[in-house]
């Protein structure tokens, strides 16, 4: 295995990770909710469509989503937000979106809910889910780029 040194940014990674961890704790201690983006977006949309069970906590969910959506604007006060672009066509992008949306609801969490909050709580369930999505991600990129 070779390391992609030019694109490896350890300090920005450590700083960004610190902010992500602090943001999760801010939401936890501020609102009592896990910063699981799959859960927050799913419940927010279900409640919009009239699902009664998900109605409480709507303000917290939409405020958090608004914060995520507005963060590039805040960043752009200082520079261009580094968002890049995907390297797959439109069809694969839509398929990927469907798989991600379906998968995170089925597995009850994503990189934030299981990956950061779940592992922080030392949850075995989250560890199993993380190993599954990481493993599937490794295999998918290997097939996509090296087959």
């Amino acid at each position: 295995m070779s390391i992609d040194w030019p694109n490896f940014t350890p300090w920005a990674a450590l700083g960004g990770g610190l902010l992500i961890g602090l943001a999760s704790l801010l939401l936890l201690f501020g609102s009592g909710r896990i910063a699981g983006i799959a859960g927050i977006v799913g419940a927010a949309c279900n409640a919009l469509l009239g699902e009664r069970q998900a109605r409480s906590g709507q303000a917290v969910r939409w405020a958090f989503i608004a914060g995520l959506l507005l963060s590039p604007w805040l960043w752009s006060l200082f520079g261009k937000p580094p968002v890049g672009a995907p390297d797959v066509g439109f069809g694969l992008l839509l398929l990927a979106g469907l798989l991600v949306g379906f998968g995170v609801r089925l597995g009850n969490g994503c990189t934030s809910g299981h990956g950061i909050c779940g592992l922080s709580r030392l949850s075995m369930r989250s560890l199993v889910n993380v190993l599954c999505f990481m493993g599937a991600g490794f295999v998918t990129v290997a097939l996509l780029r090296h087959l």
Partner: protein, 151 residues
Amino acid sequence: MTTVISLAAGLLFGLGLLMSGMADPLKVKGFLDLLGPWNPTLALVMGSALAVGVVGFRIAARRPVTWAGEPMQLPPPGPIDTRLVTGGVLFGIGWGLAGYCPGPALVAAGSGSLAALAFVAAMVAGMLLHDRLFAAPKRVAITELAPQADA
């Protein structure tokens, strides 16, 4: 107040994703590409976030109430079953294809990226499809475990 804190948490989370490079799908794919020149950035992002998270969640486990004295809504313990595993695998395939997971996709969509907007639309469709086919996952507040706020 809770709403303002949640907005701030979302902003901070998004800034963290931007700073760490995780809103760039090619950086994420660089991590998932074990056979190519490998980019370890994502591992450090998770490590750093976990170092902060472990400390915070230990405090929360001891006293699961918010600053306002409300009980926290922590997910109840659940089984390790086929749903958990299949969900993880499907998510991982989509993640590997596009390089987006839900958080970074929302941040990139907020920056005006049409590709990310399309991804988010498909992702929401996938979520709703799941929730129509299966019952929406239940959230149980662990009120009974939360100590009463100091009077």
